[in-house]
């Protein structure tokens, strides 16, 4: 139900926004929206700036993503603004429903952690799409401030904080000659399960460098397939945290709308092992 409401809001934005913003970037070159609200792949930010604005324009996007594993559900909705293809400001709200696991842990069936993610990203140099005679990727730096609403529970499971900030640098390059796109992101973070389980922990409370990558192959102008991999810290004694990976298909039926379908391996999450999840994301962009 929550998802439906968010989707309605998203579509409402979709109708309202075109009047405000332009849409002159090339198809699929803006990427989609990753789980924490930044323009990118599904799991990881790219160096591209949200929306379809060029360097003379303001672009915007909104998205809703639903990830449903055997034992958990993560719903995320958000919006982003791209200023002059240079600066991206984003907001996302995540709701992680523990379903029956919440009951088993004594938190109550359907217990949910919610998290706000405020992001900013700045394109530093390069152009992933147009500089086809050079190896130089597009490079951006960004940060994501995250605030979880379940501080008491987080501390009880060994997390040190209910808020934290990730810092990242992304390099993205479209190899148009080969119809192939590659992205590499390095992230400094203390987040447990991207912040859903808080920040820092009883095993480690230090920032660590994590590695994230997306590889995509363009099948058609409106269709791409790819894989992603994202390493994560392992700060909590209560449960091992695994790296994430997925395979995805991104489809852009019309310029302003994209739909991403993925299958993600999320590994162990608290008392449940081998979590696998279909991932469905809808985005509108201008």
């Amino acid at each position: 139900m929550h998802g439906i409401k968010n989707l309605t809001l998203l579509l409402a934005c979709g109708v309202a926004l075109p009047a405000l913003a332009a849409s002159d970037k090339l198809l699929l070159t803006g990427g989609v929206t990753q789980l924490e609200g930044a323009a990118g792949g599904g799991l990881t930010p790219w160096a591209v700036i949200a929306g379809y604005g060029t360097r003379d324009q303001i672009g915007a996007s909104a998205f809703y993503t639903d990830v449903r594993s055997q034992d958990y559900t993560l719903g995320t909705g958000g919006v982003a603004v791209g200023l002059w293809d240079r600066v991206e400001l984003s907001y996302a709200r995540q709701r992680f429903n523990t379903r029956d696991v919440g009951g088993a842990l004594g938190l109550g069936t359907g217990f949910a952690f919610s998290q706000d993610v405020f992001g900013v990203k700045v394109r530093v140099l390069g152009d992933a799409v147009l500089e086809q005679d050079s190896w130089m990727p597009q490079i951006a730096v960004g940060m994501q401030y995250k605030r979880n609403d379940q501080g008491a529970v987080l501390r009880a499971i060994g997390a040190r904080d209910d808020h934290g900030t990730d810092f990242y640098v992304s390099a993205t390059k479209l190899f148009l000659d080969q119809s192939f796109l590659a992205n590499l992101t390095l992230r400094e973070t203390k987040a447990n399960q991207i912040g859903i389980l808080g920040f820092g922990g009883d095993k480690s409370d230090r920032y660590s460098t994590q590695f994230e990558t997306s590889l995509a192959y363009l099948l058609r102008r409106d269709l791409a397939v790819g894989v992603e991999y994202r390493t994560k810290p392992d700060n909590l004694k209560i449960a091992r945290e695994d790296n994430w990976y997925d395979v995805f298909v991104a489809y852009q039926p019309v310029k302003n709308v994209s739909v991403t379908l993925a299958y993600a391996h999320l590994g162990n999450i608290v008392i449940k092992d081998k979590q696998r999840a279909p991932y469905l994301s809808v985005q509108v962009g201008f």
């Binding site: 005679d133 363009l218 102008r221």
Partner: protein, 144 residues
């Protein structure tokens, strides 16, 4: 008799020499995907129609010598695809200097070209190979 032998010899050499002449044809497969020269002429005809129908690009082309631009584009793209043509038009930068072309105009032009290539049935991968060679021209064309 002698003449015939001479002609036969010449023909043999010509046949042997041809693949050598085309040896710089590292990859004319893409050129063939575009339907060679005849295909390029059709694509440029559609491309120009698209540019004139597109409000973002129309102002740059409606008062220009469209026939000449199309002919030069055929040569330029044929050459970019390692086809048997030479672009003999003016260099890009001075021609576009005063036009005030922005990034969004350039991107709109790419979209109009993609539509024309689709209509001609050029495979997507071949389209991308051409776009990869043309994209760096943005540095000489986009001035604002």
């Amino acid at each position: 008799m002698k003449t015939r032998l001479l002609l036969a010899t010449a023909a043999t050499f010509a046949a042997l020499a041809l693949p050598l002449a085309g040896h710089a044809e590292a990859d004319t497969a893409t050129y063939r995907d575009f339907g060679e020269k005849a295909g390029l002429v059709r694509i440029m005809d559609d491309f120009m129609l698209n540019l004139l129908a597109d409000p973002r690009t129309r102002p740059f082309f409606e008062n220009a010598d469209q026939t000449r631009i199309k002919a030069q584009l055929v040569d330029q793209i044929c050459a970019a695809l390692d086809g048997p043509c030479k672009y003999e038009g003016a260099p890009m930068a001075p021609v576009h200097a005063g036009l005030g072309i922005k990034r969004e105009h350039f991107n709109a032009l790419v979209e109009d070209l993609q539509l024309a290539m689709d209509k001609q049935g050029v495979p997507f991968r071949a389209q991308n190979k051409l776009l990869a060679r043309l994209a760096p021209l943005h540095r000489e064309i986009v001035t604002r």
